[in-house]
């Protein structure tokens, strides 16, 4: 995949196929710790323990479970290329939690890419599912919770393409702001201590 946000879209689709009704996505970028981590947690039916062990092998998995075939293997390869790794564990309510880590500065690390397009695509295709998105870039945080949006705009608001399109633009602007402040040297300096505290 050309962008990490496409990997995110792919893994979240897995969770949706597994029958989840709430999915939490967390992206954390820390230049101080030189780390980018992605965590996706769903409350779907989960992956049986014996299959969990075989996940890293694309051939074994693609034959036993169609649901987690190539997608996770691609993400694992992408993470390992960048001195990171992929961990799959049992998530909330017996679902699945996928964590991928990357060396932030690694030359092979794909850009995060258009996260707003990924979120808009998820909202558009799955109005019945709730999403909680958190993005931390060098200590600055952005969050989005579709349950709050539905409360504010009405239960059926996220079935309207116009609302989702407009929402996507807002998310894009917010994330650009968040990540460009993080890019500035003074912000990096300021947050350097913070990230080391963790």
């Amino acid at each position: 995949m050309r962008e990490l946000s496409l990997h995110i879209l792919d893994v979240v689709e897995n969770g949706i196929t597994a029958g989840a009704d709430i999915i939490r996505i967390q992206v954390e970028e820390s230049r101080g710790a030189n780390l980018l981590s992605i965590k996706i947690n769903d409350n779907g039916r989960g992956i049986p323990a014996e299959k969990l062990k075989k996940l890293q092998d694309p051939f074994v998995t693609s034959r036993t479970t169609r649901r987690v075939g190539l997608g996770l293997s691609l993400l694992a390869a992408a993470a390992e290329r960048c001195n990171g790794k992929l961990a799959v564990a049992v998530g909330i309510a017996g679902g699945t939690e996928v964590t991928a880590t990357f060396q932030h500065s690694h030359i092979d690390r794909a850009p995060l890419g258009d996260m707003a397009a990924t979120l808009a695509t998820l909202l558009m295709g799955n109005p019945q599912i709730d999403f909680v998105y958190t993005h931390v870039a060098d200590g600055n945080e952005f969050s989005l919770d579709t349950r709050e949006i539905k409360k504010e705009l009405g239960d059926h608001s996220l079935e309207d393409p116009m609302v989702i399109h407009r929402l996507g633009e807002s998310i894009r602007t917010s994330l650009n702001q968040l990540r460009s402040t993080a890019d500035k040297p003074e912000a990096r300096e300021k947050n350097h201590g913070k990230t080391n505290d963790r």
């Binding site: 995949m1 496409l6 879209l9 792919d10 689709e13 196929t17 075939g69 190539l70 997608g71 691609l74 258009d114 397009a117 990924t118 808009a120 695509t121 558009m124 295709g125 799955n126 600055n140 945080e141 952005f142 969050s143 989005l144 949006i149 504010e152 705009l153 009405g154 059926h156 608001s157 079935e159 309207d160 393409p161 116009m162 609302v163 989702i164 399109h165 407009r166 929402l167 996507g168 807002s170 998310i171 917010s174 702001q177 968040l178």
Partner: protein, 122 residues
């Protein structure tokens, strides 16, 4: 902590107030964007976002968009299936944003099947 503020949401609500009507009527047309790993890697997200823009512009209450997994035709991804009540479902292959816009404007809105892009009738 930055959030999509209530103000942002209120603005969106105002801007889209005209169109936000409950979609309780039956869908006459269903558009499926196939979002398996293969579809996503081949560009299904860009197809979906183009479709979303077209939908926002057309403002038709009887068209439904859904996503689905891989349908086993990975080499022709991104695939999009258009189903309507009157005609048989058409699977379009190797879609991109522009092809999606054309299929939407011609097939979905006007009923003209775009056979150049079609993979199969189902």
């Amino acid at each position: 902590m930055a959030k999509l503020t209530i103000d942002d949401l209120k603005k969106i609500k105002e801007e889209t107030a005209k169109s936000t009507s409950i979609r309780d009527g039956e869908a006459n047309i269903k558009i499926t964007v196939h979002m398996g790993t293969c579809g996503i890697a081949a560009g299904a997200r860009a197809v979906m976002n183009a479709l979303m823009e077209e939908m926002a512009e057309a403002d038709r209450q009887d068209i439904r968009i859904v996503t689905s997994g891989c349908m086993g035709m990975c080499s022709s991804e991104p695939n999009v299936t258009v189903e309507s009540k009157e005609a048989e479902p058409i699977v379009y292959q190797k879609m991109d944003a522009n092809r999606m816009r054309q299929v939407f404007k011609r097939h979905v809105l006007l009923g003209e099947i775009q056979s150049d892009f079609a993979l199969a009738k189902m």
